[in-house]
Symmetry: C2
């Protein structure tokens, strides 16, 4: 099977090309953090709704407030209890932070600048018109889009949506991702391990990554190397937004996932991608369900998941930002020239004395080393045919902490 060798960018573009954002659903504000808005949030009120005091103090007319002026306090207005009357000449109303500025008043004098004695106050600081007032609408006005569609909601956004008076928000449904691990040689943790076998680590690592990327994972039972078994389990992917397989994406006679999927009618692309780790990838459709076949090697699988699955989840989620984002860092140690494959080197990050981000690749880059992958802070991106790089040279890195993976 001599499939063409795709670049990373080509492979990603082909995967994303066929994916559409999941349809919208309504969720409670309290459940909406981390979800992606399917519509802009428009303010349902003006904030502040009226001119408010920014401080604890007294409302008065600035013309009545030269230094040492004495005014009569005619009432008070706690936040939430607006003063019913009007502030006239020589009068003041006691206010608190957030109190509505009573009609007639045009400024607030803060309590620290006042000498109070019964219902009289004397100003120790001259009043200035407009001072210590939060103007109506200075945060937002009714009808304004305070949050844009495609935004993944932060806790701060939840506060803003609440302030805009939205108890419910319309977000993209989470993509449902079925995860199928295959292979006679694998067993779940704690289960009897077959002779010569290993513990399956991919399915649950991928499930956690799918969650981190905003998806809803469904871990299917492990399917042994039996096309009928695999095909049967694949049925369980009906109604899923994506079927993810791991293992079997290779050219060996015992990689049965492809055969089983093709037998079920999958239109299949088998890709050799010019990248390391993670060369082989399957992509296709089973009916309307896109299928992404990741390599069985755990490190290759997780690197491919960062490079292809996270952007797919962002696309399903309706997210606007670029995933995974890369940023510059400076090499802590020299790197040899690269061959024709893009390399994603597992690396540690630290800051140097100048605050620059220093990325140092691990000595051991063998794609079987899960311990090295777990210890990595970032992946250093080495483009195909990159020349040898000296320590101190600038490179691009994908920060894994930023991705929550």
């Amino acid at each position: 099977m001599n499939a063409p060798m795709l670049s990373v960018a080509e492979a990603r573009a082909r995967i994303l090309d066929g994916l559409r954002p999941c349809p919208p659903e309504t969720v409670a504000l309290s459940e909406a953090a981390g979800r992606v808005l399917a519509q802009p949030v428009r303010a349902r009120l003006t904030q502040p709704p009226a001119d408010l005091s920014a401080m604890d103090g007294y409302a008065l007319r600035a013309v009545d407030g030269p230094l040492d002026a004495v005014l009569r306090v005619i009432g008070e207005a706690p936040a939430g209890h607006p003063f019913a009357g009007h502030v006239g000449p020589g009068e003041a109303v006691r206010l608190f932070t957030g109190s509505v500025l009573p009609p007639g008043a045009d400024c607030v004098v803060i309590q620290e600048d006042v000498r109070a004695d019964g219902d009289r106050i004397q100003l120790r600081e001259a009043a200035r018109a407009g001072r210590h007032i939060r103007r109506a609408g200075q945060d937002f006005t009714a009808g304004a889009a305070v949050l844009a569609a495609g935004r993944r909601l932060t806790p701060r956004d939840i506060g803003l949506a609440a302030a805009a008076n939205h108890p419910w928000l319309i977000v993209h449904r989470r993509p449902r991702v079925a995860i199928l691990a295959t292979g006679d040689e694998i067993a779940l943790p704690g289960e009897p391990i077959p002779s010569g076998g290993i513990v399956s680590s991919n399915a649950h690592a991928l499930a956690a990554l799918v969650r981190a990327g905003g998806g809803a994972p469904v871990v299917l039972p492990i399917a042994g190397d039996d096309p009928a078994l695999i095909a049967g389990v694949v049925e369980a992917s009906a109604g899923m937004d994506l079927l993810l397989t791991t293992g079997g994406a290779s050219v060996g006679a015992h990689d049965l996932v492809q055969a089983a999927l093709v037998a079920r009618g999958m239109a299949l692309d088998f890709w050799r991608i010019a990248m390391r780790p993670g060369k082989p990838l399957i992509f296709g459709r089973l009916g309307t369900t896109p299928v992404l076949g990741l390599p069985g090697n755990p490190v290759s699988t997780m690197v491919c998941a960062v490079i292809y699955l996270l952007p797919a989840l962002a696309r399903f989620g309706g997210e606007m930002r670029e995933v995974p984002a890369s940023e510059p860092a400076w090499l802590g140690a020299a790197l040899p020239a690269n061959d024709h494959r893009a390399d994603f080197l597992r690396a540690r990050l630290h800051r140097d004395g100048n605050g620059r981000l220093i990325a140092t690749a691990f000595e051991r880059q063998d794609s079987s080393l899960l311990s090295v992958l777990a210890a990595a802070d970032a992946l250093i991106l080495r483009p195909p045919h990159a020349e040898a790089s000296a320590a101190g040279e600038c490179v691009s890195v994908i920060r894994l902490d930023l991705l929550g993976v």
Copy 2:
């Protein structure tokens, strides 16, 4: 009330001083991502468990493998099905990635370097002892601590813990955080808003932040400005790891939270902290429950939550890393000299042509502007008495995206 003015570092140290990591609980591996390990994870097996083939190819004795040598294929060993026999002189066994190296063999020749004809292969590349073999234990050995206590588990860590054969992990229980918003003037989104009132945005923003920080929030009903109501709701905080209040942390006569808490026996510290936004803070204990009283202003509350609550959650969670982490950035616009209060300026981030992180403070820093807070990528840290800074100068920033808030 003339409370002393504390520095940010002092206030944080005092809060953290009395907090202890939550006790451990057992969770399923599949639920453990984002949790913090209470014990190291020790590998229960050696990985790889035996010498394995790193490629699809043939196992043989390197001494039998000069260029063009012909060998007899005596069997095959798919991954998970070790070859039962022994590889003798002139013999080879067909292997696949992950297959156990059969006894007798000391190298693997990859299939691309072989011409196969029936049960004979001819080598198009000379064999080299040790080649294409993953040695037993090169990832980890049984008994080794593959993940340290205090680590917040990533999806990669889940993969590693699975590979180390752990179906269950022992993590710190999530801290339970009761959230009490007070004030006659506030109403939940969608509820009738009292005259002069505003929509409550703090409780659910804080709940989302607590979740992002690894805690389990419990949002208490809003308590009006009535000490009896507040005290009653506070009863609901029994069994919580932390009671968080918002609103009422000020010196005004209508700030009743302190009074109500003190009346219930709370040992109270009222702190004016030399910071902006978010000067006033209450800290104390109600019985054994620590109480953190955040300001009512939404922006002050969220900034204080980043500065004090996130590290408290990390402490409860048993986490080792510093929270919130800061990193260097370069000013996109000049900043004026600062007064005696530490300032946390809401700012946007971008990268310049050299890849440097540029932080530009928003023009409008009024602490009532939730829309500005939500749009911010970072907080620029301005120490007390910082001198005026020109564009291009280096400052510290807290990246809010990194914190998931």
